[in-house]
Amino acid sequence: MSILASDTFVRANNVDLGTSWDECTGESQVGGFNISSNTAIPAAVSSDSSETNNAATWPNDQYSQVTLTNPIADGVGAGSGPMCRAATGATVTRYRLIGNASGYDFARFVAGAYTSLSSGSGTTFAATNTLYLEVKTNGANADWICKKNGTSFASGTDTSPVASGRAGIAHSGPSTTAALSAWEGGDFGATVAQTIPGIIQGANNPMIGLRYV
């Protein structure tokens, strides 16, 4: 894995996250996130909002991870978290994972149509916990993994996947508080070259075009 972009949100309070971030204007709260006390906070905790990161050219195989500042038990389906393969502008198409002290929700959005693919109170989040989402192409599918503090708590394969987009951050309201103290997004690096097994391993080795007789 390699980090393609990151943000600690340490800067002066502002209603804009900065030039590396683009607000998703199709959300119920078009203002995305603000900087407040060196964290990223939703522009309105009562509504949904999100921002995509433009500091990298995002590959289809990507991850996005946030550090939660102070998640509250606001119910399953509320809170902040990472996005993958998120469209820009007003098109609400992406994968979104949000969590709080009540639980989590992982979802696919297509043109605003929201489908919850995994959720529950089986995994909850506290201050300083990390929430990680990874999406990788697997043939016609997208394999996804959700992690808390580096440990997987849910995974699956989506047979009607969102194909591409940026990494970013998102919020689902209503929340009491839903601040983020850090974010990073990245890819999975170059494919490691595989050692071709010895030619006598198979009578006809299609990998190297030789025939063993």
């Binding site: 297509v110 605003g112 489908t115 919850s116 995994s118 959720s119 089986g122 599918n141 997987s152 394969t157």
Partner: protein, 132 residues
Amino acid sequence: MSWRWFLCPIVGTGGEKDPYRSRLRDLGITHSAHIPSNPDGTPQFSWCVCLASANDFTVVDADVLIDGFPGVQLSETLGSFSVAVRNKVQTALTNRGVDLTGITLTNTVGELLQRAGETLGATWDWHKVSLL
């Protein structure tokens, strides 16, 4: 904590506070659902395959709209269950349009689950699904 697989109705309108979701979510059960979508984001089917985790599945077992796969392990063969149990899951699957051609008593619950998932999406693979 234990884990079980279910066939569940999809509920919701797809709205910001009313997602398309497995009925398990409304029962407060932690789960992952296989819900393929049409190009416009609406579900392709009215039902989904779900892996759920809970200490107590009483509320799920009491729901007449949800059907569970039998057994404790997916490696169990269908022949190890009673006729009543087999008939129940057969009815649940055929009612949802799952083609059971070729399924015999020597097939496993996992193979039955895979058949159900492939009805929703030909390339779905239950081995990819995990839940804490």
